[in-house]
């Protein structure tokens, strides 16, 4: 079903409140909502709650043949899905723009910044590499999907353990978890996305917009940073700034 439009008085109220530096849930301008991370029973399964926005992440792996032009590197695949239970507006055919944007941002943030060592995922060069697949599902939409999704992805990747494998000549032996302990992935750094919402042509700025604030914002700036103060990705959308 189509998204319920925001009424003009609600929009005016939100903008006036932001001008007076007040937010609906009582946060300050640079405050994040509470983040709660819980893990499932499997390795690589986690649920991240950013306020009321909830994302489920699950990592799985499989042995495949590598891409032709990158024969010694493993494959990293991200997939974010906006499930219908997250918001009434999310329907199977209607989400493409937002979905493409979020997926590409996640891919660029996690894959291009080389946070996972893909060379360590190689088993037999040119023949067998690990394909790591990260599936993220948005369970509840209360604003700021990208931050929650990036946290879920990196936490799930850190939590994941892949089966141990040994190569003797041409033979590749895959050990089950009972035979040998699974091995963690080698992660160089953890990029986390932070979203800034802009209002009134860039005069006012809020961190971690909630769903209402996202509806009235002029534009969004997403910066992914890691612990070493390196910027991994910047993406600005929908506004102009100096």
């Amino acid at each position: 079903m189509k998204e319920t439009p925001l009424s003009n008085c609600e929009r005016r109220f939100l903008l006036r409140a932001i001008e007076e530096r007040k937010r609906l849930d009582g946060r300050q301008t640079y405050d994040y909502r509470n983040i709660k991370i819980s893990f499932g029973t499997d390795y690589g399964c986690c649920i991240v709650e950013l306020g009321k926005t909830r994302v489920l992440g699950q990592v799985s792996c499989e042995l495949v043949s590598p891409k032709l032009n990158r024969a010694t590197e493993g494959i990293l695949f991200f997939n974010l899905e906006l499930s219908q239970m997250a918001a009434p507006a999310f329907e199977p055919g209607r989400q493409s723009d937002l979905l493409v944007k979020l997926n590409r941002l996640l891919e660029r943030c996690l894959r291009n910044s080389k946070c996972i060592d893909t060379e360590s995922l190689c088993v037999v060069a040119g023949e067998k590499v690990w394909q790591i697949r990260v599936d993220l599902h948005l369970l509840n939409h209360d604003g700021n999907i990208i931050d929650a999704a990036s946290i879920a992805a990196i936490v799930a990747l850190c939590h994941f353990r892949r089966p141990d494998v040994s190569v003797q000549g041409d033979e590749v032996t895959l050990y089950t978890p009972e035979e040998r302990d699974p091995v963690p992935l080698s992660i160089h750094h953890m990029p986390i996305c932070v979203s800034f919402a802009f209002f009134q042509q860039g005069t006012f700025l809020l961190v971690d917009p909630s769903e209402r604030e996202e509806r009235v914002m002029d534009g969004l700036l997403v910066i992914a940073v890691n612990k070493h103060r390196e910027i991994c990705t910047i993406q600005s959308s929908g506004f102009e700034m100096q």
């Binding site: 032009n69 493409s96 723009d97 493409v100 944007k101 997926n103 590409r104 660029r108 291009n112 910044s113 080389k114 750094h189 700036l221 940073v225 890691n226 070493h228 103060r229 390196e230 910027i231 991994c232 990705t233 910047i234 993406q235 600005s236 959308s237 929908g238 506004f239 102009e240 700034m241 100096q242």
Partner: protein, 245 residues
């Protein structure tokens, strides 16, 4: 290619340019007679074509019509022969969708959409040869095409890419420099007011260096602006000669 230096000790890049130098830009407007506006741009070896139709009535569902603004619809397609290895899907894959969305965002900021409510402006961009800086070439080509179509814009939209190697910021990256894996920044600027329409960055860059890379990209975008301005004036001069003024 191991041992390929992106920046030599004397300060020369792989193709002989200096750090802040742009590639040679050649552009033509009014390439197609059928379209309302069209342009062709060559930035070094990157070649892009842009075609604009509009403003016209909304095609498809009337419900998408915005009551106070025009709808900007952008589609990006890169030819199968544009890259070194033949691509199988020219459009419809995620990267093309994302490019289309980014182009739409860039031009919604620049085109005065309030002047054409309930109508649609189509911008189609085709990349014929991709040698780095495809987003920048697309934006520059689309700007010229929109100007050729006579659609009012706030300002030129000039875009350029920038990178960072060995402590120096490089402007206008070629494919070799992009593939090396260093940080890449794509910036779309409205030169007169200095406003940024789109800013996008990939790969790791320490936050201390961000200022320098941004400055290099902004400077390069302004250089692109002077060139595009010259192209537009030349085109108008030619057109007025034909009209007999």
């Amino acid at each position: 290619m191991a041992g390929l230096e992106l920046l030599s000790d004397q300060g020369y890049r792989v193709d002989g340019r200096r750090a802040g130098e742009l590639r040679k830009i050649q552009a033509r407007m009014g390439v197609f007679s059928q379209a309302d506006g069209s342009a062709y741009i060559e930035q070094g070896n990157t070649k892009a074509l842009a075609v604009v139709y509009g403003p016209h009535e909304i095609r498809g569902s009337r419900s998408r019509a915005l009551p106070d603004r025009a709808l900007v619809n952008c589609q990006y397609s890169s030819a199968t022969f544009s890259t070194g290895e033949r691509k199988r899907r020219p459009h419809g894959d995620r990267k093309s969708c994302e490019m289309g969305l980014q182009l739409r965002q860039t031009f919604e900021a620049a085109i005065l959409t309030q002047l054409h409510p309930r109508s649609q402006i189509d911008i189609y961009v085709q990349v014929l040869q991709a040698d780095g800086g495809t987003y920048a070439a697309c934006v520059n080509a689309a700007t010229l095409a929109v100007l050729d179509a006579g659609i009012p814009m706030r300002d030129f939209v000039c875009a350029c890419s920038a990178g960072f190697v060995d402590g120096t910021a490089l402007a206008d990256l070629s494919h070799v420099e992009e593939a090396a894996g260093g940080p890449q920044l794509a910036l779309a600027l409205l030169p007169a007011s200095g406003q940024i329409a789109l800013l996008e960055m990939d790969a790791r860059l320490h936050e201390d260096h961000l200022e320098r890379v941004l400055e290099a990209a902004a400077r390069a975008a302004r250089d692109v602006h002077t060139l595009l301005d010259r192209v537009v004036r030349q085109h108008v001069r030619e057109a007025s000669v034909l009209l007999g003024d």
